[in-house]
Symmetry: C2
Subunit: 351 residues, 2 copies
DNA sequence: CTGTTAGCGCGTTCAG
DNA sequence: CTGAACGCGCTAACAG
């Protein structure tokens, strides 16, 4: 606040347009029927005065804050930043505003975050934070406003927008298999998120469909971060019969794989192919640019807002909306060295 | 809204504690003098009922929204994300909430962004967006609430938090000169931001102080993005007498330089040293990790909020707060090849 | 189709 | 030190 006291109020518009404040309200909100000329006069007056409705007063009266809570893990992580972007765009178009809640800001005090959302009387909440506990989910759900999660523990939430992790993993594997790889490793994610299991499942299914035996020692667990993945990939490369390709849990861990590969004097792509998951901006910046499974995150953010706004209007929303990923081929994948040698031999002998 | 109708209101607390709502209000806000026992009884009741004041009602009555507007260029850019993070932390501690405005979401409609901030009756605004026009600045300033800019066109704003760009550039140059470099190029930023000129000035001053002649052809202009910097660096490397080191406008352009160097079959560090500016997360991820001038961005975000909150309390704020950068040495810088050869010769002959 | 009126939930005088 | 009463700016019945 502390607005100049002369910020025009609805009352000022009404007086100047010689109508009641109710009429101004109707025109401003496009509700109710107002005669053409009257409506036009009011509209003109609003413009002249530069009238902007007071969101707080409006919210108080309408019992609707036009604010959506968006809970993420970390705004520094481009993965979340893109979701935020998409959500903001969609919300903005509807006149809504996004209230960001960063669980890493509220470390150990998830209740504080929920309290803020409650105090601000958000109309709905999107939980994109990936590692929400059941207790936390219950806390959010208890707000008694529509809640929707993005790529989360969907068992905790009534509505969700999810990427098809299995399909994504299969895309990655099929790409590698198509290039001729047979020994494909997987640096898996942290064991407490469903995403890990879904991507792992996709990995196994794709192998099975290609008639390649699953070898447990080719799957190692990371935490989805750089360091652990680097260590995991390092271990893989030390195997007697090392993999020719690695499917990483996500782009961050793929970059960890990059480091491990380089440390052993191997070349990414030529010696060991790497496929990531997510397609964060970084993926295009690293050297070589990373082949990865792209999640349409901005779109998911937009979709989540669209669904939530629909629910606010009383529309029924599907329990789950599954979004399909797509493969972005860049330079970190190539046919395996052995296959190339073999194909060279084949080519030579066929001459 | 759409809160369960049984969300406790101040009235409920008052009734149950057998006091008036005025007393509850006083206790809740720590204002006015309330007897110890009464205060305790009210407090206990608030806890029992899980009472949370209604931010909208409170804001309407108090003429204060406890909301701060934060205008950035792009939340996807980690540079801004960190400022946001710092600002959120500080605001949260004071019970304030940050309303994010992304100028790239509101492309060509800056007025829309300002309108949103006005409708929501933000108590103050921080403009961290780097390329604000005068018109835009006037628009924001006309909101008649305290405004403060971070690393912006400070000529347009009454208060600002700024990084010392000249000092930062000097840090970079002194580091390179200390390593033995003499031919140091600069990929400069877009010509319409003051930052460009300040960093360029620091570059020239450092050279002068080291007794190295300034060569105009060693300074080329980029736009602060990957592509243009890559082209700019490419041109530098094509010179008859190419530089042994490049001081890039920012980390993104440094990564563009990486690409240009690699394209020519040269090694970063060993053949051409590169220093960036900003220290975005990416800087530590690229290969080799980038030596760069770090801006304490989270701290600047926090500082901005602190200053703004002070202004809201009526305290006088300094027109400018200048923050010092520091050099983060990583692996993209090394002594120049010629210097190494020379030092080897020197070592050999001295034996 | 338009105006009147009663709140929305809370802060804040002003009396007591 | 405490309570009653008013108003913040707007929406939403309800009358006309």
């Amino acid at each position: 606040m502390k607005q100049r006291r002369d910020t025009p109020r609805i009352y000022d518009v009404a007086k100047m347009a010689r109508v009641s404040i109710a009429t101004v309200s109707r025109v401003a909100n496009g509700r109710g029927n107002v005669t053409g000329p009257t409506s036009e006069r009011v509209r003109a007056t609003m413009r002249r005065l530069g009238y902007r409705p007071h969101a707080l007063a409006r919210g108080l009266a309408a019992r609707r804050s036009e604010t959506l809570g968006l809970v993420i893990t970390d705004i520094l992580d481009p993965y979340f930043a893109e979701i935020v972007r998409g959500a903001q765009e969609e919300a903005e178009a509807a006149g809504y505003v996004i209230l960001l809640g960063d669980t890493s800001v509220h470390a150990h005090r998830e209740d504080l975050l929920v309290r803020r959302l409650m105090e601000r009387r958000v109309d709905g909440v999107i939980v994109a934070s990936s590692r929400t506990t059941r207790a936390y989910a219950q806390l959010v759900t208890s707000l008694d406003v529509p809640v929707l999660c993005i790529n989360g523990q969907r068992q905790f939430f009534p509505h969700s927008v999810q990427i098809d992790n299995r399909a994504g993993a299969k895309l990655a594997l099929q790409h590698l298999i198509g290039l001729g790889h047979r020994r494909i490793a997987h640096v898996a994610g942290p064991s407490d998120v469903p995403t890990r299991h879904e991507r792992l499942a996709g990995y196994r299914v794709a192998l099975a469909e290609a008639g390649i035996a699953y070898e447990p020692q080719l799957v190692v667990s990371g935490s989805g971060d750089l360091e652990s993945s680097r260590a995991a990939a390092g271990a893989l490369l030390m195997l007697l019969d090392p993999p020719t390709a690695i499917f990483a849990y996500n782009d961050r861990s793929a970059i960890g794989c990059y480091q491990a590969i380089r440390e052993r004097g191997l070349r990414i792509g030529a010696d060991v192919s790497v496929v990531g998951f997510d397609d964060i901006v970084m993926a295009g910046w690293v050297d070589p640019p990373l082949t990865t499974v792209a999640q349409p995150r901005a779109e998911m953010g937009r979709l989540a807002v669209t669904l939530l706004l629909g629910m606010l209007r009383g529309e029924a929303a599907p329990a789950q909306v599954v979004v399909m990923p797509r493969l972005v081929e860049r330079a970190s994948t190539a046919p395996p060295a052995v296959a190339m040698a073999a194909s060279r031999r084949a080519t030579a002998s066929s001459r």
